[in-house]
Assembly symmetry: D2
């Protein structure tokens, strides 16, 4: 077992509230509890590839707990094995793992704490195979990591979404309208499920439960008959009709946040207006769900994740990912979960709860 | 001068935070200070046409100060002169002014307080011509009423927009991105101007100052060169390029909130990416700007507007609209302002202020 | 096993965000899923004693998910065994359990869902002994129920406290001051612990870890020497010095929220100013921590608790209390936990986390 | 008229949201529009006395618009004429104006922008007499500057207070209680007036309208009789009974925020409970009203104030204070307003509005 004296820390992939809280906890625990040196690696794996990193001081990580974003920067460079270089006008993909390994050695890093999502963990798995000790801290605003019941950023995203729902609610009530609100979630419906339950949405549509437009139309019509002249639908961007396909009209493959020229929300509005003759409107929450200061719960969770990463590292862990299971922190091998998504089971207790209070899932 | 014993109150047009605060102030002032009876008319002019109104009690307007929406409901029926009826499968437009006048007389309303926007005031002007005393309270979330320097709902809309900008800011900083955020404002740029200044946007585009894409590209490039790897654009939905036209791809004419399948924000993102090769993203704030609990400033202003409407009514006013001028409440004849929009003058002090601190208006 | 056809629901004790969410979930699940009738009992046990209850309709519990407070009202009447009556100018305490049993029978209630804290559960245990089936839903903003890892209202209280800390932070930074902020928590320090970690407090004082003023003074002095000219202390109202006693100067015994004429925060400010000559200020958060709209997480949790209460009732449960354990809903006999408080263990993982990032607990 | 090439900027006195927005606007306008150099003076007049100032760069004032506090620091050193020095164990007050004048000359400052309250302006008036050009930007969270209808920070303070009132409202409703909430305002009641109107307080007590306890008791009793079982009082800390005196039990004279061991709120609670036998509770909002990120309206106003300070300076102004009058920016001589407080006139339109909707002022 190597003695740990110096570590690196990086953040990869899209924005997620709580990144700075993790960086702070990792750095402060390393410096205060274990007297280690911490190098902040800039812009995710890009900083490892280009050898851009700096020694972090206590003050660098003071007063960042509440800040959104990441003081280290991030990038879409998900894996040193696929580095894009421009050569005679064309993009070529090259493997720069060797370069990364050299930079880690040259900077005498005994381990690298990699905070990121799926792509970042795939990159970390590659580095581990090349002899670099990586400790992973999962980052997914969608809360969809296999083997982990809660990730930081999710509570903040739900909070932001529900604030919007609360605002839209009053408009819907006054105008007798069907409001279709699209939240994040390509493949997993956790954000829509929690936001929908927390805002009392009448209909929740998630990728895991394909919907039937007739069922939705019947619910809206029933509400209208009972004198409820408005309805609110909370819809995952990846929601899809039975037998149908996800509606994403333009997708920029290299980007985590495609510009969509009309996704599922607009399709649903058109379909509902045609079917029910009710007045319907779409709202796409978009980027605001990823930003802002983390909620207190996310600050606490992110701090715990950062602390736990250091704890297990100092106890000899190698290639492990921090997770939460049954309300407690734990760890699993990075390669065991990379690429595995946790989806909403159709019989999830929260789905049953929502159904019991009258929520329609379109099925 | 008629003795006032009984009045009606209605809200027309789109949602706007503060409507309930006005209803409450009108009703409580009428009941408490002047011992009048107040009838709440349902769903704007539709309630006058269909004779749906109810006597309001003190408790009906208690605890509604903080609520978004309107307890009276609203509708898009902007003017009793154009009432749509279905006849043998076709929509016909008929003038139902006589019916409205009958209902006002039958309910012994000595005056009607009409809270609404341009359309509502056009309807009120018609009723005034037919001998009904209407007192108008202006409602425009865009703050663009000629002869009135501030309307309720505007502060709340700015607040909601700025909260979103603050969230997007951290994402932009971490990701080195150009974020284009579209706020409301078809013809007047007040919301974009105030939101942009309050959030420190790098570029503000408003309908009154057509933009030159080359100027914007130069600013973004300049920032990028100085090491600022992100930029934020705050854009009115009605912003337009020099010599160009407003970009609204689908508009449903009868609706105040068209579903747009890609407005100015998406166009700008495409144009900027093409011109600068920078990574850009669009966010359209949409309906959330109209909803929610009014800010304290809007609650105060709406309460003052409602009180003033009663004050001038009891002093003998006829066909007047409540306005704010030079920091004080005043009134102007309804017909003198109906249909007149207050636009941002290119030399508005706030535009000069924004330019002085380095903001680009694209010109 | 009795067939359940009709149930009552009541809320007892102090305010707690999420009460309406539980009422809504209980009522909607009962009506929608099980076709039961639900009677809303007014003002906690007082309504049972005085036979004040009303049949709830679907609309009574619509749009209340987001509301703070309780639509049923509450009271400090914690137990029908101790009912205060005025007799010839003196207060006498009488046992009115019989009267309550009669009212439950007369209203044909097959079970009563009791939402409340310790006092309410003691009352419920008494009713259970008298043959009334009570299902308990725990309500403690302090999150200190034995055998339950999370109660609704706690996340909202932390959220409110942290918002205040975030505001106070900037003032402290600009003024070079020691800010002592007192949060709720007579006997258990959960709220201070979570609020302190989430706001990056320099010192956290909780009842479970008595403090040494010399240790605190040393930390403040050390920070001052390092150029950090401000410090923030997050203090439970029940924090106490080593060998000392809780500082609560005036306590009105029948009231859950005594007016304190200077509690621990003011004592600490005086002590710190005397010992360190630093400028210190106290803030007591007080009642605002109990009020307001529940956070999304609390809305979800409260909804789940309400649903689960009905689930177990319909499966034959008798005298059970809903709890959360290891991330899942479960139940325990009411009498097994009544009166037992869950305190912060000195080696709680969150305490260790806080220590690792440099937080002082005054020991 | 001196050519202006280099200016200083300082912030003095207590915290106030918007200080950084003014610093940013002053500095950016100076650098961007007028190509001046700006020195940031640390800790108010203390920095001038001790010659602590640094050249500000564009990046120093980037991303500070939304921050509470002041990046320059502040102090209670209100006037260079009264500087405390310790000599043989005793505090002596000396006049260090000469030293300040020397430091201003040595740093080649052609003018100093002084952002602060009454004390700061008295200090500025002294410097002006000694030949230093000071431009004042008023800072008073109480909005009580004579000749200025609105100051930055006030909207934020009202916002914070009203958020607390909204939370307390639900608790009061559920518990049938009289809630007495104390807001800032020693001598002027603007904050209580606006917060009270915006939160629908039943009773508003301000220093300008001494209250009669019998009148308040009658209102509370009347509400109770009508079935309203709760009432909310919004009280300035300087509110006082007719013929009585302000209740501030301990006051530290050198400090802007005395620790009070029970102010007017606690007195009122005791008096009301004794007189009406209703259950009453006190909440003192305290420091949180001064902190936090400024509201959008305050960011805009602070930016305008900072810009205007530079504008008038470059046009030759000397010893002027920026103010807002009739909705527009203007300026008045610093010495003409220093020490003059703007109080709430008993016939202020907002007082009349509040009375009309049924609010009691205790008179």
């Amino acid at each position: 077992m190597t003695t740990i004296r110096r570590i690196g820390v990086l953040t990869g992939g899209g924005d997620c509230p709580g990144l700075n809280a993790v960086i702070r906890a990792v750095t402060k625990t390393a410096m205060h509890q274990y007297k280690l040196e911490v190098l902040g690696i800039e812009d995710g794996y890009l900083g490892l590839i280009q050898n851009r990193m700096r020694l972090l001081q206590w003050n660098d990580v003071s007063n960042i707990l509440t800040l959104g974003g990441t003081i280290l920067g991030t990038s879409n460079q998900a894996n040193p094995q696929c580095f894009a270089i421009e050569r005679s006008g064309k993009t070529e993909w090259v493997d720069v793992t060797d370069r990364v390994v050299d930079h880690v050695r040259a900077n005498e890093l005994d381990a690298v704490v990699c905070i990121g999502g799926d792509g970042t963990m795939t990159g970390a798995a590659n580095l581990i195979k090349n002899g670099i000790n990586c400790i992973g801290v999962p980052k997914t605003i969608d809360n969809d990591l296999e083997g982990c019941e809660r990730t930081f950023g999710f509570d903040t995203a739900v909070h932001t979404a529900v604030e919007c729902f609360d605002k839209i609610h009053t408009t819907a009530m006054s105008h007798h309208r069907v409001m279709v609100v699209e939240v994040m979630g390509r493949n997993a419906g956790w954000l829509a499920l929690h936001s929908g339950v927390a805002s009392g949405a009448d209909v929740i549509l998630i990728p895991e439960i394909p919907y039937d437009l007739d069922v939705i139309a019947a619910v809206l019509y029933e509400r209208s008959k009972k004198g409820k002249r408005f309805s609110i639908l909370c819809v995952s961007e990846g929601a899809k009709p039975k037998g149908g396909d996800v509606v994403v009209q333009r997708r920029v493959e290299t980007s985590p946040d495609p510009i969509r020229l009309g996704g599922i929300a607009n399709k649903l509005v058109a379909d509902i207006e045609e079917r029910t003759k009710l007045d319907a409107r779409a709202t796409v929450l978009g980027h605001i769900q990823r930003g802002g200061s983390p909620t207190p719960a996310d600050r606490v969770l992110a701090t715990q994740f950062g602390y736990h990463a250091l704890e297990i590292l100092m106890k000899g862990a190698h290639g492990q990912l921090v997770v939460q299971q049954a309300g407690r922190l734990a760890e699993v091998p990075i390669e065991s979960v990379a690429g595995k998504q946790r989806k909403v089971p159709p019989d999830d207790p929260l789905v049953s709860t929502a159904r019991a209070v009258g929520t329609c899932f379109g099925d």
